[in-house]
Symmetry: C2
Subunit: 142 residues, 2 copies
């Protein structure tokens, strides 16, 4: 059967290899893990947000959110308090230092992305984005 497998085959492995490369490199460049930066990015655009909303934005497990926030709280990047109107929810917000740090992070992130997309013109960036979206869609319907 499909013996020209190599071409398509490669794509799966490329995706895996790519991700294996991207995250550590990003962390080394930006000084923060991609996931944590996404958390902070959400917080940055908002005064205060419940943990559950945060989780739904970021789309990772609630347990992972809890643990990241615990770390970020200890490092003085965020604060948490109970929602007086509903004692189940905890509200999260950036501390002033957290907001400060975001400026560096954003720059590093832009630098990183530009490096990653080096040699891609606008049209290619768009094509790449479209393809990734289509792949994502295909996975979702599987």
């Amino acid at each position: 059967m499909t013996e020209h497998q190599s071409a398509e085959d490669q794509i799966l492995e490329l995706l895996q290899a790519l991700n294996k490369g991207v995250s550590p490199k990003f962390e080394r460049c930006a000084g923060i893990s991609p996931t944590r930066l996404r958390l902070l990015h959400e917080l940055y655009q908002v005064e205060e947000i419940s943990q559950i909303s945060l989780q739904r934005e970021i789309d990772i497990d609630a347990a992972a959110v809890t643990r990241h926030l615990k770390g970020l709280e200890e490092s003085g990047t965020i604060t948490r308090r109970n929602n007086p109107a509903d004692n189940r929810v905890t509200l999260v917000s950036l501390t002033p230092q957290g907001r400060d740090r975001m400026h560096c992070y954003r720059e590093e992130k832009n630098r990183f992305i530009n490096g990653l997309l080096d040699g891609f013109d606008d049209a290619e960036r768009k094509r790449l984005t479209d393809m990734l979206i289509r792949l994502q869609h295909n996975i979702n319907v599987m």
Copy 2:
């Protein structure tokens, strides 16, 4: 500064989301994790191979290799023995049952990839592959 960030920004998150989707879905479809299948795939094309060569092919940590092989050995998929010519290296090979199982796995993998690339014609598949390779390259030189 870069305020049209959204386009490029998206790519990082798309890559992350994609990988988050691909691995579990693959495992659910194929009944084995992508990494383990890659290990078995290497073993499939060879009579016997040292752990270190295997590791270099797959490009994961030696510790991870050890643990995967331990699991695969317990499930009767592979066997290991010492290289009599060099007692440091252990030689790994598929058991007959392991070879059998690979037939199913390969089919499932092809099915999965076809699903993933649904709607991509040959030209697009090639373009995608090329782009992924370029991204990988960009990361490596960062």
